[in-house]
Symmetry: C2
Subunit: 702 residues, 2 copies
């Protein structure tokens, strides 16, 4: 069976239910676009009140059509939509686009209506796009199943950029901006209320299309975690760049998102981290989204991050050097020999990098050619960039300058070429024709190049990093809360390390255990019913002799009996007192959208004051765990500061990866895990969780 | 005497030395621009080889002119420039622009040449702009003293935007971008090598011009600290916005800046903080610089930060809500009554804020008018914004939409109006004509509006905050290093607090002092020759009885005698052991560019790992000190976290302000001050410096 989305984007034939004779109306625009856009398939307008619409034969009902169309566009009001969906189902239509608003976004009644419609379609095997969406288009086929006004004046050029957007208006805006930037579009899908097909599924389809090199995506949230992760993995594995605009960063934005659609927003920090995990670029602004998609549209990625900057003005060079450094690019100096060659040509030049040929070179274009040639042949740069400012806007200067630069870069066809300038469109296109990425703003160029480097790194992981091995689930106790000891036994089977502890039933046993472990020790109440031990003062630390252990053991047991008379007390945990290491916290949570995620941060004020934590979707491998660890601001503490040595970062990475595999294997049973603290010992000595709490799903649903 | 810069920008007459008959050459362009630009003053081409240039009478030498011109443009090579400057001096010219490169930026020889030229000019009272600059222009007078190619096709419109740039190419680029954005320019000054006039002086002049509302500035560093600070103060007091591009953020950028001009870069962090201190917006990108200048060019600033967002698409609304929150704007909800009114109009609308009238409103323009009217009359917003996306690019939709919105906003002419859309220039201008700020990108709009709010706050400080009172210098010891006790005595006179300490000469005296202070105590070696006490283990803390004090006192004195036999030991400081409070560090340093600055940060890992410190130029008042304190990431620690109470932030602010006044009063004598740590006690209990080190200028120059 052809993919359902295939029928939406490349139908052999399409019916337009609610076709209007007025080409300005919602039911009229798609017909006009289908006719004028050059679509070669069958088009069946449905309008019971007319014989023709816009000069085409019209049918009274879907049932009257000579064939079952692949897809149908439903341009009828909400009240008539259910009936139209029933008709599609009856006629054997494969997919349908529902334009109308007035469903789940309007409240309970609309939501019920939407649910009925979805149920009906599902039963019939009819896939739905929308409702409350702007439809789709596929410029290469001249297929425009949309009523967007952006096509009023001009259609969209086919090309390598896919667009998938929950918001129709935003998707249309992106297509419009892409067109202004000279970018062609492969497919355009807007998902609206996502009663059936969501952004994740559309994205997953798009990153499997040969003609698509980069996808601009927009979502307020996602519906299906597994499909979403699969889409991101597929994109990475296929070398397709995804540039994502996810809204709801701010509280007020998240509130607006919640009131706008039915999509769950989840935690923005988690979404952010997961996009990073899969090498997706999250755009902060629309301008950035277009800028980066533009860079990716060429489908060429740099082998490394070394950038050579050519300028005729020191000031510009410094600025781009700053921007490049901020974008993670390496503004490495020209080799000595190359610098000497440049100085021989141009005694006043700065030959290092940025190479500043000074305004003098503008009076002798050969100097520009020679400088650029020296840079691209001798510099060893992955990316070459020239800063031309407003120069190419000057009619007298533009052509000699262009010609001088093209002669220079011709010596090395391999590195990525880029330029910043403010120039008329024809000048811009003439540089693009020679393989140049052209930007007006240097900061936008630098951050786009930085994104290319990160995409390149991420695509390369497929061959370098093994995916995390699946973990067999560890049998959990039948039901109910788990004590610290139980949690530790389970997690030990998952490969995690804990201190050499003993469980003592009585104060006497506690003293015996302490003698065996060696002083000082820690005592902790152990009960599945006392998750937060400090609430009953159930922990005593740094106990240095037998008498103190006995006194404290008695006191803790007495307090537990008094304050939690119904708690099942398993005994007292006697543990060695570990003073060394760096305190971190590790946890597992279920994000409402992205499912099981692992959280990592430094303990104490770092997490409490600075919120210095990061996340990853489970499961993930060692390399990803290492990246995760390096991401927190306090990372230097683990590398060793103030004379302290390096901590056992490898053991910590192993712990995080193992925990993520465990969390994924038990995603249906376990709601959260807290390991707080995890003490990361000096290098070679491991990472040890001092406490462990596992909360089942059923517990938190109570 | 007229200001020298006045003669550069508005001369009654100008001589062009090195005038060329070829209007494309450096000596020809200015003549062409002066003729075609409509300059009404006298123009005297100087060219000994010709009788006329470009059809104008030419003179052989400055000496031959019928009058002394106000200013001269020197378009001759470096080798001929010195002579030309001599001629200007002899003829009584008031100011001169030196275009030629080949001076200080090329090395020692060029620097010497530049110095000779400057000395000569100074002697004659001749002010210089450049060398290695692109000159000036003043569009209102049609005066273009530049050879920039950006004027080839089109001159610059007069208007409210001043541009001052060290880099000629960057300044030209800004002028070009301003023109593209429809912004007029009041004055344009490029300073190049800044042999005489620098960006600071040019800026100081510009912010005193009535026709200038906002200045875009570019610098790699500044030459004259006092003029620079004066310029920033004047800008703030006159309500002129300054949007600053300062390069050299990154190490490689700073290196490139150093090799590019003679400007000292100073510390980028200090520069950044000082711009913030004076309410200057530091732009991170050129696009941002233009965007914010555009917002300021209207000269209208919002009274507060409440923004009302009108949209036809939920997705856009969420995005702008996110961007607004990030920019410090308050997306406060519509009053209840107004929400009900909107819902009555449009049952599917989201009436809160963003107000989403949904695409349905596009089919009934009256709904748009009513919604907008309700927002501007009932919302209480300081700024109104409408998100129109690509709608206004549609020829059928643009005019009805515009008209509907204009009718809506007409009900309230007072709030700031803004809109985001992607539309042809004429549509953009039609909105601007109605007082709208028009942006293509919502993020750019939001951050520009955020900048307007901050400018507004900063301008208002003039009336609300008294400037810091000057402090009379405290007499310092005649010369030489100062011990901790001496430093504390001096700083006590400046108003700072220290613990009740005693100086003991012998172990016996130390014990006596400890008994009087009460245990536990701290012992510290006191010597002007031992700045870093821990190097000789010269500190002992938490001493709890007489014997321990005696033992430690003996040991410290013995170590000092052994390890620093030549040190003048004043004795042992006996201080109470203060356990409470939050540990901070405070210091004074001399920035190589911006002079005496006060540094503040949290102690320990905050400063060591996170570099969580901030700066202010001295002197500053209490309000500025409060803002400084709130700026650090760890500020919540001072407000109280983990059950701890609020620290004495007021006392800390007083300490910082007092120290800044002291540092400014002694800026010629003192190089640095370290107060590490300063313990900020619980509210009402003060901020106490536990240690103090003052380093004189002569000490560090040794």
């Amino acid at each position: 069976m052809t993919d359902a989305i295939e029928t939406l984007l490349s139908p052999a034939s399409v019916a337009l239910v609610g076709a209007s004779d007025n080409p300005a109306r919602i039911g009229g625009r798609p017909l006009r676009y289908l006719r004028d856009g050059g679509f070669k398939g069958g088009v069946y307008p449905i309008n019971p009140k007319r014989d023709t619409v816009q000069g085409m034969k019209s049918y009274a009902a879907l049932a009257d059509l000579p064939e079952a169309p692949d897809t149908a566009i439903l341009a009828v009001p909400a009240s008539a939509t259910l009936r139209a969906v029933e008709d599609c189902a009856a006629r054997g239509v494969r997919s349908a686009i529902v334009f109308s608003a007035g469903f789940a976004e309007t409240g309970a009644e609309g939501a019920a209506q939407q649910k009925r419609m979805t149920g009906l379609a599902k039963e019939a095997g009819l896939r739905l796009l929308g409702p409350n969406c702007l439809g789709v288009f596929n410029p290469a086929k001249g297929y425009y199943g949309t009523f967007s006004v952006i096509l009023d004046e001009q259609f969209i050029m086919p090309g390598p950029v896919g667009i998938v957007s929950q918001s129709g208006a935003y998707g249309a805006h992106l297509a419009h901006l892409a067109r202004k930037r000279g970018l062609g579009v492969s497919h355009w899908i807007t998902t609206g209320n996502e009663a059936d097909i969501d952004v994740a599924e559309a994205l997953h389809w798009m990153v499997r299309q040969d003609e698509t090199r980069v996808v601009m995506a927009y979502a307020e949230g996602v519906q299906d975690r597994d499909v979403f992760i699969k889409a991101l993995e597929t994109a990475r594995d296929n070398g397709k760049a995804v540039v994502f605009m996810k809204t709801g960063r701010s509280t007020v934005g998240a509130e607006a998102a919640a009131s706008h659609t039915a999509a769950l927003a989840g935690s923005d920090e988690v979404f952010d981290a997961v996009l990073r995990q899969y090498g997706v670029h999250r755009a902060a602004t629309t301008a950035e989204q277009i800028d980066i998609a533009y860079a990716c549209a060429a489908g060429r990625y740099p082998a490394g991050n070394r950038i050579g900057i050519f300028t005729l003005s020191g000031g510009f060079g410094i600025q781009l050097a700053d921007d490049s450094a901020a974008a993670g690019l390496d503004v490495s100096p020209m080799p000595r020999e190359a610098q000497e060659k440049l100085l021989a040509l141009l005694p006043y030049a700065s030959p290092r990098n940025p190479v500043d040929a000074t305004a003098q070179a503008a009076t002798d274009m050969n100097l520009i050619t020679s400088s650029v040639e020296a840079m691209v042949t001798m510099g060893g740069y992955d990316v070459f960039t020239a800063i031309l400012g407003a120069g190419p806007a000057s009619p007298t200067f533009a052509e000699p300058l262009r010609s001088a630069i093209m002669q220079g870069v011709a010596a090395s066809p391999h590195s990525i070429r880029s330029v910043t300038m403010s120039a008329p469109e024809d000048v811009v296109r003439s540089y693009e024709a020679e393989g140049f990425l052209v930007y007006e703003d240097g900061s936008a160029l630098a951050s786009s190049l930085g994104a290319l480097v990160r995409f390149s790194d991420s695509f390369a992981r497929k061959d370098k990093e093994a995916p995390p091995a699946p973990m067999s689930p560890v049998p959990l106790p039948d039901s109910g809360a788990m004590s610290e000891v139980t949690a530790k036994v389970i997690l030990t089977e998952a490969g995690l390390s804990f201190p050499a502890e003993r469980l003592a039933s009585t104060p006497d046993e506690a003293v015996k255990a302490a003698e065996q472990i060696g002083y000082p020790v820690v005592l902790k109440i152990c009960s599945p019913d006392i998750a937060h031990k400090t609430e009953i003062s159930g922990v005593a630390v740094n106990l240095r002799d037998a008498q103190t252990v006995r006194d404290n053991a008695e006191a803790i047991l007495a307090r537990a009996a008094e304050m939690r008379p119904n708690a099942r007390v398993e005994g007292l945990i006697v543990a060695p007192m570990l003073g060394d290491g760096v305190e971190t916290i590790v946890g597992v949570a279920q994000d409402s959208v992205l499912g099981p995620v692992v959280m990592f941060g430094l303990g104490g004020i770092f997490v409490e004051v600075l919120k210095d934590v990061t996340f990853r979707a489970a499961p993930f491998g060692l390399e990803e765990a290492r990246r995760m660890i390096r991401e927190i601001k306090g990372f230097p503490l683990l590398e060793g500061v103030r004379g302290a040595g390096r901590s056992d970062i490898e053991a910590l990475a192993q712990l995080l990866s193992d925990l993520s595999r465990f969390a994924y294997a038990h995603r249906d049973q376990i709601d959260s895990i807290d390991l707080n603290p995890v003490r990361v010992m000096p290098e070679g000595q491991g990472a040890v969780a001092l406490d462990a709490l596992i909360v089942r799903k059923e517990e938190c649903e109570q």
